[in-house]
Amino acid sequence: MEEVKDKIVSIEKPELLAPPDWKPVIVGILCNWCSYAGSDLTGTSRTQYPPNIRIIRVPCSSRVDPWFIIKALQTTADGVLISGCHPGDCHYISGNYYARRRFLVTRELLKMVGFHEHRVQFSWVSAAEGAKFAQVVKKVTEDVVKLGPLHLYKKENFNK
């Protein structure tokens, strides 16, 4: 478990202090053929990583509508990780190329409206890269812990 230090502020709203028992929630959206298989490999090889990520399976990174990211940020997520096959390895030939374009634009737009760039991160993890998946999750979790809780445009009834 990532240790939460006693004074963590939300980077976008420095006036807000994180509660002492705050634990970040990271929404991970993984493509079925590479990254989800890679995350399974992380499990089978018992590589440990921080427990803050909640994984959602989609068939391909091209299935990820930027809308999902917005939705996650509005509700449950302090951070979002989206992972797919390496370029050229897409199970569906070209899905990740389309996804890559959308991700770049979404990321830059979110950055402009005041989200820290580490709130939403992307990775290519192949089915063989169990160790890389663990590293990616570790990095994203560490980043988000540094950023503190996300308080932007949250739904009123969201309280975790």
């Binding site: 809308w67 509005q74 991700f103 770049l104 737009l109 005041g114 932007l152």
Partner: protein, 283 residues
């Protein structure tokens, strides 16, 4: 820039030749020197048509309406308007053979206060890209300029930007005027209004506004032609162009200088890809 006479003549001739059922143009609003769009079905009204630097509204928006969608229509388009019209053609929303397009080599239009609009100052494609007839002297393609507001925003800190945009989303009243006045928002039912989305964002709160505006701007990313119909329609005067200009900048700089609707038959930036697209932001 005054093509009122020419447009009146062309429209009259089109009606006389039986080539069109409706003509979409501008007329004086009747109380000050500003203009409003007009949809003409009666040839007698042709004399009310005007076109000057006060002809601001993007008329291609009217092509998605019932009374023009399946009719033979004549309309006037400036550079930016023609780009959105081009996209409507590419995305099969209107049929080219039903349209008679009067293209304008636009010298820029002015807002209510007589100031040249920002999008005209930064205009890249002043001449109509699709037309049957061109009025004015074509000026050719201009260089891409990064929007001044975007440049200024980029220099601000994270917290400052957040505060600025928080005000935008808080002042949004969710009337959806931006969407309805956008020529490229022609969906049968907007995703924002559909159950899947509205289930969590039906309210008019800042959070819902954030969701709606962000989704909207991403759906227009690589398609928005910067006509600013949305801003003209916004009752809260929100600087909505920021969202679009930011996307436009990222797309232009990273995806082979893509500009929406400039080339015939070219779709939005999200419907194609290049192997050379940036990859360095991905772990």
């Amino acid at each position: 820039m005054d093509y009122s006479k020419q447009i009146q003549d062309i429209a009259a001739k089109l009606f006389a030749d039986g080539k069109i059922d409706v003509f979409v143009g501008y007329r004086m609003n009747g109380f000050d020197d500003n203009q409003i769009p007009v949809v003409i079905t009666d040839p007698k009204e042709v004399s009310t048509l005007v076109f000057t630097e006060k002809s601001v509204f993007n008329l291609s928006n009217y092509l998605k309406a019932d009374h023009t969608r399946n009719k033979r229509a004549g309309l006037v388009v400036k550079g930016c308007d023609s780009r959105s019209l081009n996209l409507l053609l590419t995305e099969s929303q209107v049929k080219r053979d039903r349209l008679y397009i009067i293209g304008i080599a636009c010298e820029g239009v002015v807002d209510d206060k007589g100031q040249k609009m920002q999008n005209c100052i930064e205009c890249i494609v002043p001449d109509a890209v699709v037309y049957d007839e061109m009025l004015g002297n074509p000026q050719g393609r201009k260089d891409y300029i990064v929007n001044a507001d975007i440049k200024a925003l980029a220099e601000k800190g994270l917290v400052e930007r957040r505060e600025y945009f928080e005000e935008i989303f808080e002042n949004c009243i969710r009337c959806n005027a931006c969407r309805h006045s956008c020529p490229l928002c022609y969906c049968a039912k907007c995703c924002i209004d559909q159950e899947t989305a509205s289930l969590y964002n039906g309210s008019n709160t800042a959070s819902s506004a954030f969701h709606a505006l962000m989704t909207w701007s991403l759906h227009l990313a690589g398609r928005c032609v910067d006509c600013r119909n949305c801003e003209k329609a916004c009752p809260s005067h929100l600087p909505l162009h920021l969202l679009h200009k930011q996307n436009e900048k990222v797309i232009f700089e990273n995806f082979q200088n893509h500009l929406a609707g400039v080339e015939e038959g070219e779709r939005g930036a999200f419907y194609k890809y290049s192997l050379k697209d940036p990859d360095d932001f991905i772990m």
